[in-house]
């Protein structure tokens, strides 16, 4: 049994012609062959060389023959299973399915002052519990809600984050890399008996750092799937144009995918897009920009042709520093367009400003956006029963009505998405009940979840094994002066 998520029941949004798509595809292969990609990893360079790539070891530059790239793209499964701690939370990624996942932030946001600060360990656990409870959050795509947690060193932040996710959630988990922490993430996953998803992230333009490649080797060799993603900043780490930055971004993602398929053909991979235009005054990414959506829609259109599951990452953050109207519209428009484009995973929950701030209340609001988007892509059911022609005939004109009909009782709940935090009270009722906004309702919902939701705990054996591995990690970093 798998978590259903949402199923898109109509043709995805396509904005490029076949000729335009072909031009981007050809351009990408040309860049991979002519310009090549810098891969800072000896073993990977050797492997590329053995498989027919031209390799300049001194510059760590790899030129890919187009045939090899296309062959490797073909080897990727077009859909695959992901194992969660609780089998009812397993996922089947690919095809027309849509799942939602987390976008982490470095720090917690104060909901009154909008200042950020490191989260406490308790707040980190609370955030995970909220994510575990939300209906439409299918997947923890980030290794932790917060990267900065009081009392945890940067070196231990990922292993501790992954362990906390294993303890307080039974949903599918991603485990990133940094400073070799993937060694411990893999061990923890095997101990608990789940799969974690590895990552291999490019450093645009056209570069893979050693640690990203090492991570791919480790996760693939452990038999785990790998999330390959690049995050071009249009106008800074890639061309300012959407077409041009799609080419560099795709060349980067393809490099990672070729690598995974050479290590082990058939390895489960996702292709991720996380493109933002540069904000040309501050030099930051313009989070929530509509150009990110254009980039994603083009990316989805191309990668659907390659038959590789697609992740949309740029839908996570907004440029707003607070949970407000801007944050809402930027995230909602992004999520809707990505879903329409046929992306399979949207990493949208909880992120506020860039990767700086996360809050579970925002995740609760994102759960609402996910519900609305999911409802939309499931489309309109057209059957004899939903057309309701006999019923229309039976009711006729006024004073006929539908409210008392069995058909209404049966269908309205299937047809209507029921919001959990949007305020839909009548005006007088709203005035009487303290003029609450969606944000107020979301804060209340967080309290309610924390009061009622108890995630299934690990067994005491699993818990003990987890702690042993964490201790091993602490020792590892302490020996290297990183604790």
């Amino acid at each position: 049994m798998v978590m259903k998520g949402f199923t898109r029941k109509f043709k995805p949004l396509e904005i490029l012609t076949e000729e335009q798509l072909e031009a981007i595809h050809r351009g990408t292969l040309e860049v991979l062959e002519k310009t090549g990609v810098r891969v800072e990893h000896e073993r990977a360079l050797k492997m590329f060389k053995e498989n027919g790539c031209e390799v300049d070891y001194k510059r760590m530059r790899v030129s890919f023959p187009p045939g090899l790239v296309e062959e490797c793209l073909h080897k990727c499964p077009s859909s695959f299973h992901l194992k969660a701690r609780d089998p009812k939370n397993d996922l089947r990624i690919g095809g027309n399915t849509l799942y939602f996942s987390t976008f982490s932030g470095m720090r917690i946001l104060d909901l009154d002052t909008w200042k950020t600060r490191p989260a406490t360990k308790t707040e980190n656990v609370e955030a995970i519990k909220v994510l575990d409870a939300l209906d439409n959050l299918h997947y923890h795509s980030a290794y932790t809600p917060y990267f900065e947690v009081e009392g945890i060193s940067p070196s231990m932040s990922i292993p501790e984050g992954v362990a906390a996710l294993m303890r307080y959630s039974t949903k599918v988990i991603q485990a990133n890399y940094a400073l070799d922490c993937e060694i411990f993430n893999i061990k923890m996953a095997k101990t608990v008996g789940i799969e974690v998803n590895g990552a291999c992230l490019a450093s645009p333009p056209l570069t893979y750092r050693r640690d990203a490649i090492e991570s791919a080797f480790r996760f693939v060799e452990a038999g785990f799937p790998v999330w390959v993603c690049s995050g071009v900043m249009m106008g800074a780490s890639g061309p300012a144009t959407i077409a041009g930055s799609t080419i560099t971004n795709n060349a980067e993602v393809m490099t990672g995918i070729v690598l995974t398929q050479l290590i082990k053909p058939g390895t489960r991979v996702w292709a991720g897009d996380c493109a933002f235009p540069m904000e040309m005054r501050t030099g930051s990414s313009a989070f929530g920009a509509i150009e990110s959506s254009l980039h994603q829609v083009v990316f989805s259109q191309i990668w659907r042709k390659y038959g590789i599951p697609i992740v949309s990452c740029a839908v996570g953050p907004s440029s707003s520093k607070q949970i407000d109207f801007q944050c809402g519209y930027e995230k909602a428009i992004g999520a809707m367009l990505s879903a329409l484009s046929g992306a399979n995973v949207l990493t949208s929950y909880g992120g506020v400003y860039g990767e700086l701030a996360f809050h579970p209340v925002q995740a609760i609001l994102d759960d609402e956006i996910a519900g609305m988007v999911g409802r939309f892509i499931e489309s309109v059911d057209v059957t004899e029963e939903t057309l309701a022609i006999d019923l229309i005939d039976e009711v006729g004109p006024i004073p006929g009505m539908y409210l008392d009909k069995e058909h209404t009782r049966k269908w309205w709940k299937k047809e209507q998405f029921m919001p959990k935090v949007a305020d839909r009270t009548s005006y007088p009722e709203w005035m009487e009940k303290g003029k609450k906004s969606a944000l107020d309702h979301a804060k209340e919902r967080m309290k309610e979840i924390l009061a009622t939701h108890e995630p299934t705990p690990l067994t005491s054996d699993q818990e003990a094994a987890l702690e042993r591995i964490l201790e091993e990690a602490r020792k590892y970093y302490s020996e290297r002066g990183l604790l």
Binding site: P154, A178, S203, T207, S237, M278, M280, R281, T282, G283
Partner: protein, 215 residues
Amino acid sequence: MSIEVLENLKKAVVEYDGEGAVSWARKAVEEGADPVKAADALAEAAKQVGDAFGRGELWLPDLVATASVMEKAMPVVLEAMERRGQSRRTLGTVVAGTVFGDIHSIGKSMVVAMARTSGFDVVDLGVDVTAQKFLEAVKEYKADILAMSALLTTTMYEQKKVVEALKKAGTREKTKVVVGGGAITQEFADKIGADGYRATAPMAAELFKELMRVR
């Protein structure tokens, strides 16, 4: 040196014409004129672009392009100054780089561009710079300001190492240390004993000016 040559040199800078700027700078030097005046002309033109950015008329790509023109043309006149044993007044000297283990260059390059177009001399050490390399450059160029960038939570502690290295070498008091990058916060800057932190490149350039006034 004709005024025309200096005007052309300035024009090349504001038109982002690196080759033009280099050839007009050479011409100025070859004509045997005062290279300090040529350096001032370059700095003045760059400041024009910086000011236009400040007024919201130009954007980061314009600023970075100007800085790279400066990077090409300035050495021509600086060499001539050195031959004559001359020096000139600038707002100060900034040594900048991204810390060891981190190859994110764009933020650092924007800070370099902002500083160059605000009237500072900038020594750009690039990315993946070790504490030792920072220390050597600070000494060699008698840096007034050391600006370090780190984007990652895993590399930000390198900045602390550099501060410690400066202390150990006994040069900490002579140089103001400024930190920045995606993972950095004011609290972190305070914790490692830096003199300042700013979130964006334009704010960093303002901070440089403040720190020079304080000195």
